[in-house]
Amino acid sequence: MKGAEYEMEQQAAVRLSAEGVHKWYPGGVHAVRDMTLAAEPGELMVFVGPSGCGKSTLLRMIAGLERVDGGVIRMGERVINRAPPKDRDIAMVFQNYALYPTMKVYDNIAFPLKMRRWKRPDIRERVAQVAERLDLTGLLDRRPGALSGGQRQRVALARAMVRSPRLFLMDEPLSNLDAKLRVKMRRAITALQRDLGTTTVYVTHDQTEAMTMGDRVAVMKDGVLQQADTPQRVYRRPANLFVAQFIGSPPMNLWAGEALPGGLCPPGQVLGLRPEHVVPGGDGPAVLQARIEGIECTGRESVVYLSAEGGLPITMTTDAAFPGRSGEHLPVSLQIGRACRFDRESGLLLPEPQAVDPSSV
């Protein structure tokens, strides 16, 4: 009835926004609290946080699989709180792929089109096109049980993109793959998303995935949004102590002001410094004498665990050729100009002090 035009043509990307969204589970569990954030049209937005932070719950509310207990979720201007999932024009990739085990790969991919009453020849053409794009052409006659993890993953992606939905949701889609394949699929998904230009929400607990894939990253904890920003901003200026610890590996050094030598950081504040901003040698007020407690060399860089006077722990990343050994002493300088300062009471990031000249420290 819709003829050849169907939804074959790319739709204009849509903006997804959540405004003051709440979710309560029975037993008084407040899984999502006053969540307000938006994914801009065409953006790949990553929800990241430890398990139980509410990221999957929020995703399922967007999909229509969980009821929204408070607030508003919009796609474009349209409020979708009460729309049933099938009317939202959203496709989702599940963690365990959720392929229909009784159907062949072809029928799995064709299913969303059949449900939309596409005509048979149109379905065949569209499935062939998508299968080609995801390198599944030779597998169309198999059943999901006869596929490897990576192949199932691609079938799940094909089924999601086959009808050009307005929104992609991905719930930890790579967590069942081995490390090597994960890196490959990470790139494949971002490339695909960029090509299609479809607004996408991607949920993961893996901060590396979040940083490498997201146009923007929303960090969550205990159902509360901590920060939503570009990976660079989240990394350089974490909004609070939780984000500072959660994002980055090895994590940011965090020192109470009192524990540091005079003048580096006032009491009541916490100084945060990325391990790559600790460098061996140097002199000046920001140089500490430290003892090497352990070294981990990844081949690309060395992570050096140090302890300064008073047992102050310091993590430093440096050149893979770092010559030190455990037990040795060496001076390290802190690039205080790159540091973040947090209020210890609230844990919040304090504004950058104006006009600090890095060369003065």
């Binding site: 699989l65 099938k86 009808r163």
Partner: protein
């Protein structure tokens, strides 16, 4: 060794049945006489008939219209029952397994409770209901209660509940409504459960004695299961042959459905 002996013992009645069905009427009467009280002495049952004959079978198949009528009655009652169990039971089981609605637990508890009651307990009330509806002494007295019986629902609920939620959620996002989800995801994935319910239902109603005895006065409506108990010394051979013949359909169903049957028994955790 012990196990083999026990296994052989389990087969003994079937062996007696087959060998008996190949006995001449006189020999059968002589062997069974003491059991039926028409002769003195101890019953003797030879492992192989002394004078094997196909007589009882010929008699049964060529000269016993009652047997065929009742065989046909059985089919006419069992197949609608089983079909009804699937048509009514599968959607009911799907609803109980996959939807959350008010009173769901209550309904399910009721199902389990009814399932646990033996037929004898509900016989009188069933009779009253069927009588009020004017259905006694019609095949509907067997078919309707059978089609709406609780065990297949219970069994299928277990299977449907085991389908991962992600699959029905995926179907919902792929644009399937509740009915389409049931047809495209629920039925294919629940097929083992449905088939095991079919097999168990068939076996149960093929062998049913109480229901037709209680609800059917007209002997013309009686199923095969009621033909068999009428053993006398004169027709022993024929009855034994009839028993053997009556075994064939369930045996076929069983062979066909064994895989699902085992899964079904394992899933329901009980067998009546």
């Amino acid at each position: 060794m012990v196990l083999s002996a026990l296994a052989a013992l389990v087969w003994a009645p079937l062996w007696l049945l087959l060998s008996g069905s190949l006995m001449g009427a006189e020999e059968a009467a002589r062997s069974l006489g003491p059991v039926l009280g028409t002769a003195e002495g101890a019953a003797v049952w030879p492992l192989l008939p002394l004078y094997p004959t196909l007589g009882p079978w010929v008699e049964l198949l060529l000269d016993s219209p009652a047997f065929f009528a009742m065989f046909w009655n059985s089919c006419g009652q069992v197949f609608p029952v089983v079909a009804g169990q699937v048509l009514l039971g599968a959607p009911a089981a799907w609803a109980l397994a996959r939807f959350r609605f008010r009173g769901r637990r209550l309904v399910y508890t009721l199902y389990v409770l009814l399932m646990l009651l033996p037929f004898q307990v509900t016989m009188v009330s069933s009779y009253l209901v069927l009588d009020t509806l004017g259905l006694t002494n019609t095949v509907w007295a067997i078919i309707l209660p059978g089609a709406a019986s609780t065990f297949p629902v219970f069994l299928m609920v277990r299977f449907f509940a085991a389908i991962p939620a992600a699959l029905t959620e995926a179907a919902a996002l792929d644009g399937a409504g509740p009915l389409q989800t049931f047809l495209h995801v629920g039925l294919p994935l629940g097929a083992p459960g449905i088939l095991s319910a079919v097999v168990l239902g068939f076996l149960e109603y093929w062998n049913a004695l109480e229901q037709p005895l209680a609800f059917l006065k007209d002997k013309a409506l009686w199923p095969l299961s009621l033909y068999l108990p009428a053993v006398t010394a004169e027709n022993a051979g024929r009855t034994l042959a009839a028993s053997a013949a009556a075994l064939i359909p369930p045996l076929l169903i069983f062979l066909f459905g064994q895989k699902y049957l085992e899964a079904g028994i394992a899933a329901s955790g009980l067998k009546d």
